[in-house]
Structures are given as structure tokens and as C-alpha cells.
Symmetry: C2
């Protein structure tokens, strides 16, 4: 097998060797004490990263399963206000449509959320608000604290998708009043894909729906986690728990604050390179919104074909992401999540700069040098 | 770390080294051609093992997720007849209650299904029948072909849980008229826990519910599997797919018929040992039911405490299962699934025989010798 490509995507991301190696163990009994302590380790560290004292569960299913669990357990039959400024906001809206009366509050992808319309919807009786904290499709960081305050003021539940911010950017679930918070394993946690984690506040438990799905029934997760030996209600994906535990221990060793600083530095380096090249970032910000610190969305210069451009980069052993849906061919996205540092960022920027040149765009300045200034 | 125990449970089961090692790879892009071919390999082999020409999908979620997918996509709002003679039959009934009007057709655990009552329920208009083919809680193999014929005669959909038979015992999904068939990765396939596979017949597609869950929406799985590059609708648990592919290739190499013969020989050896010890098996059979070939449920002699008995066996490095729910303390169960052969069976029987003796039961004859006669 040739060397695997370096994945600079907004997930999945490169995993530390320790995380990958944790999976090779022989099967263990998932009803035994050892699995209980593996699960407990994951929960302990994840609660630190979520900044929550609420209960937290790990589901054997990807981030979308976690999002659905949040809506299906607490939103059934309710009025749900869904803030949307990108693909994952749309996905949350689609999920909400399957369970409640969903109201989309849409902005152009990568532009500020319409907080005024949210307030109107809350005044009109919305009982749940959904927000994607870090919208990877557009590289924008949404104002979770503001949304949380509004939801609380109107006594609505606040469901936050922190799938691509948690572990890479600051999240304060409890301080922001986020009642149900979701993350995925293969993003800033740098673990393999296939697990999601969900925290649940007391306010949410008080409003749990009597009619719930089975596999994603969070009341079952609660009951099993509280058993004498901590466990999951249904068979867990044991190798993924082993890997997630290792990834959590690595985060503890690095420290959350230095880890967030590293993610910020990495994304700042990418933004500096784009600026040096004379390229625009996709997001249009106001003072409440910010550029994502885990993925940067850059407008592709006109005349460059996305597939050829990324093909050139791929030939250099690096995968970056294109745009999704209507942004296909209009932007490229560089993920700076997980176990990435200066070497990965520099290699990626060098490859992008090369691809820009050979596909006919002349960068204004040397973006790689600009990035070194941030990273060094 | 000390040596891991030998798991002779009805799942999870020991995995071949090749399967475990397949998981250590660096992350790959799950929207790329390589993942597509990994998924395609799994589907190709699983269809052979299911004996189906129907479409088949792999879900990142354990067997219970597959069971729920079957009921939630095709049973919503319908009259569902649930055959129950063990814990997993009960689970299917609980799932059915969340989606349709569920009718439990219950027999004592480990006793024959009540086929006459099923026929009555079908005559009364049941539109779906659920069956657990191999009931691990009781060690009984249920008559899937008979149930399938009845369901077809009354134009009902037949949902079959083949989680602990597929890959270890004969299953003929199409010949039996099984419309939706489910298996799990960590049983007879000898892959890690965390994936389920679901096959869907044309008859089932014609009756798919317009109101479906999101993560388990099989129409989304169908659409994504049919894309130019075969993929899953949501992020898959990539390491588990890598392991499942390897497990499938191993099954192809062994051959399905020899593999089934091996499972039958192994379970026959356990049954012969129990007989030699003078112990009764739990199941009460009629001519349509059979002993399971993947797990054997044996009645614990009176006076022996289950936890002490299995504790003695565990000290010898081997884990067998006890009874579940009301059978706790009344039976012990030995799994013979996956990558197990004569050495594992013999070690297990030797340990069980020893435990019987030191906890005060005198085996009538040498069960280990009896097993050698079958295995040799």
C-alpha cells in the first residue's frame, strides 16, 4: 500500500498512533467492569471538554445519530426553531421536521444567523432551538452564547451541535445554557468515526418525550450508565470506545486550553495564507460571528476547476475538501482539526499555493511564509 | 496487561488477528473510491451469507439498530405480530410497540413458538411478522421457513433477526421469503461490535413508510449505496467497516458450507459434553425447532451458585454466559460463534467440568472426552 494521504478535511482527521493502536485488542465483554471503566474515562474527559456537569452518554452511531437523539427525545411534537446558515444547520432542520413542527430560520450559507427572527419565533412559542455551533460547510462560528441566552429567556430548550467545535474551540455548555449538546468522535477529538456523545441537562430531562425511538432512547442510556457497572443499553462499538478513551487521555495530557490555542493558531495560519494569496474567505461576519477555528472556507478564484485544483493537491498526497451542495466548485475548505500541527499545515499550504499557480492564479504574496509567521 | 480472557459468549466472540489489525489504519475519506470498494466487498459477501439477491446495507450501529431500522421503515402504523420465545424476541416486540400496533405471541423462553396463534393473528390482519431466528437467550433455533411461508400466504412482511445465526448456521433469506433480514457484526461473522447489516426485499420497498427515522432511514441508505461511488448517507464507522471487510474475506476463504459445518460440530460437542455430565439443555423442542448451533443453554444443577460457578471458570481465563432476566442463575450458556475451534471448545469444557466438580456436582461421565469424539 502506498502512503495514505494526509487528510486536511473537516473530518475525518489524522489520528494519533496511540488512538489507532488502541483498537487492535481482542474482544472484551462489554458488560464487564473493564468496559465500564473505559466508558467512564470517556465520559469524565468529555464532560470537561463540553464544560458541563450534566449527564453525558456515548452512542454507537455517528454525529447524525447524536443530533437525532437530541431532537427525537426532547423535541417530538414540539415547535422547533432551527437556525440555518449551512449544510449541517439544514440537516438539523430536516431531522426536526421528522419529529416536530420545525421552523427554518435561514440565512445564506456562511452569513450571520437571523437572531431577530429567532426572537420572533420564540415569542410565538417555539419550545426548542437548534444551532450548529461551528458550521463546517461554510467555515463560520455561530454565537452560541447569544442563542443560549435567548432560548433560556423564552424557556425553550437549546440543542447545540458542537460536532466540529468541541475539543478544538471553546465550548461552555453549562455557561451558555445549552441543554442538549452533541459531538462526534472523528472531528476535533481525533478519534475514529462512529461514535457520538450527547450531554443532557436537568431541564431537558424534565421535558423528555414519552414517545421515543429505541436505539437512540436517551432514557435507556441514562439507566444503563447508572447501573452498578456502567454500561450502554445495547452492544457498544467496543474498538471505537477504546480509541475514544485513548483520544480523551491525549486531550487531558495536552490540556484543553493549549489544544484550543493550537487549533486557533493553525486556522489563523490558514487564514493568513489566504490573505497573502489575495483570496477571500467565504464567511461574511458581523461582530457576533467569527471565522471557524477548525475549518477554513476559501473562495476559489474564478476560472479554476475545483476537481482539477484538488486533484493537483491530491497528487501531492494531501486531501482538502471542496464545497458542498450549491457551494460545490466555488470554495475549498481546509480542516485544521485534531492531531494536526505546523508540519501538516505547511505542507497543505505549500500544495495549495502550487495548485493555485499551476491552474492559472498568481498569488499576491507567499502564503506559506505568511503562515510560518503565525505558526513559528 | 495480563492475557485477555477467552470469550465463549453468545457474542462478542474472539476475532481473528487479521480482523483486528485491519482497524489500525490511518483515517480514510469515507466519500472516496476506496471506502466504496470496502463497503462493496462487505455487501457482496454478506449477500452470499444471507443467501439473498435483495439489496443489503451496513449501518453504523449495533444489531439493535438494525432491528429498529427494519420495524421503523416498514412497520410504522401497522399490525405487527411478534413471535417471542426469548429475550431478543421480547426486544423485537418492544421495538414494534414503538412504531405499530404490536401483538406479542409468547411462549416460555426456549419452548416452541406458537405457530397456531401466529396464523390466527395473520388471519386477523397482521401486516408484519417478526421472528428471532436463533434465540441466544435460550439456545433455540426457530423455524424461519415455516414462519416465512405463513407470512407470505397472508401477504405480510417477514422481518427476521438473523443476528446470531447468519454466518454460523444455514440461512436462506430469499428461499424462506424473509423480506427484511438483520445481522450484527460481533456474532458469527467474528468482527468487532458496532455494525449491523439489513437486507430489504422488493415487497418491503413497496410498503416503506412515508414517515421514517433519520439516521436509520433505509431509503437514504439505498440512495447513497446507489451513488456513483458507493457510500453511506452519514459518516460510517470506518475502522469497523475495515474489520468487517476482512472478516467477510475470511468467511469467503473458509467457505460458507465448511464454516456452518464447523459451527454445528462445535455446538454438537458442547451438547455431547452436557449429556455426558448428565445435565439438561434448556430448550424443549418439537420437530420444527432445533438446538442452536451457535450457543448452547444448559440447566445449572440445583445448588450451584451461578456467580461462583462462572467465577471459577473465569479464573481459568474463560468467560461463559449466565442466564438473562428470569433465567439468571438457572442456566449457563456457551457460545460457539465465529473464530472458535476445537482448542477453544476443549478448554472451555474442561473448565466447566472442573467448576461443576468443585461446586459439588459430580458429572456422570467425562464430557471433555465425549466432545473429543465429535471434534476429532
Amino acid at each position: 500500500m502506498e502512503k495514505e494521504p494526509l487528510l486536511m478535511l473537516p473530518g475525518p482527521v489524522p489520528m494519533p498512533e496511540r488512538v489507532r493502536m488502541a483498537m487492535v485488542r481482542q474482544a472484551i465483554n462489554h458488560r464487564g467492569a473493564e468496559f465500564g471503566s473505559i466508558y467512564a474515562d470517556c465520559v469524565r474527559v468529555l464532560k470537561e471538554i463540553f464544560r458541563t456537569k450534566n449527564e453525558l452518554f456515548v452512542i454507537s452511531g455517528s454525529g447524525t445519530a447524536g443530533m437525532e437523539a437530541a431532537v427525537a427525545n426532547f423535541g417530538r411534537g414540539r415547535e422547533i426553531a432551527c437556525l440555518v446558515n449551512g449544510k449541517f444547520g439544514e440537516r438539523m432542520y430536516k431531522i426536526a421536521q421528522r419529529y416536530g413542527t420545525a421552523h427554518e430560520i435561514a440565512s445564506e450559507w456562511g452569513t450571520p444567523l437571523d437572531i431577530a427572527s429567532l426572537e420572533d419565533r420564540l415569542t410565538a412559542g417555539a419550545e426548542m432551538v437548534t444551532l450548529v455551533h461551528n458550521e463546517t460547510s461554510a467555515g463560520i462560528l455561530n454565537p452560541a452564547e447569544i442563542v443560549g441566552k435567548l432560548a433560556r429567556k423564552h424557556d425553550a430548550l437549546f440543542v447545540m451541535d458542537g460536532i466540529t467545535s468541541i475539543g478544538g474551540d471553546e465550548v461552555r455548555a453549562d455557561a451558555w445554557g445549552a441543554d442538549v449538546v452533541v459531538t462526534g468522535s472523528q472531528k476535533c477529538l481525533a478519534a475514529p468515526a462512529g461514535l457520538s456523545a450527547v450531554s443532557v441537562s436537568e431541564r431537558a430531562w424534565e421535558r423528555i418525550s414519552p414517545e421515543r425511538p429505541y436505539y437512540l432512547d436517551l432514557a435507556s442510556y441514562r439507566k444503563s450508565a447508572g447501573a452498578k457497572v456502567m454500561e450502554t443499553p445495547y452492544t457498544p462499538a467496543v474498538p471505537l470506545f477504546l480509541a475514544l478513551r485513548e483520544a480523551c487521555l491525549i486531550i487531558e495530557e495536552e490540556g484543553l486550553a493549549p489544544r484550543i490555542a493550537r487549533h486557533r493558531r493553525n486556522s489563523e495560519a490558514v487564514r493568513m495564507a489566504a490573505k497573502a494569496w489575495g483570496l477571500d474567505l467565504l464567511p461574511e461576519l458581523d461582530r457576533d460571528h467569527a471565522y471557524s477555528n477548525t475549518v477554513t472556507a476559501v473562495k476559489l478564484p474564478s476560472g479554476i476547476q475545483d476537481s482539477e485544483f484538488r486533484g493537483t493537491i491530491k497528487k501531492l498526497g494531501i486531501e482538502i475538501a471542496g464545497g458542498q451542495d450549491h457551494l460545490k466548485g466555488r470554495i475549498f475548505r481546509i480542516g485544521t482539526m485534531g492531531a494536526t500541527g505546523a508540519p501538516e499545515i505547511l505542507a497543505t499550504l505549500a500544495a495549495v499555493q502550487h495548485a493555485l499557480r499551476i491552474h492559472g492564479y498568481s498569488p499576491r504574496e507567499d502564503g506559506v511564509s505568511a503562515a510560518c509567521g503565525v505558526l513559528g
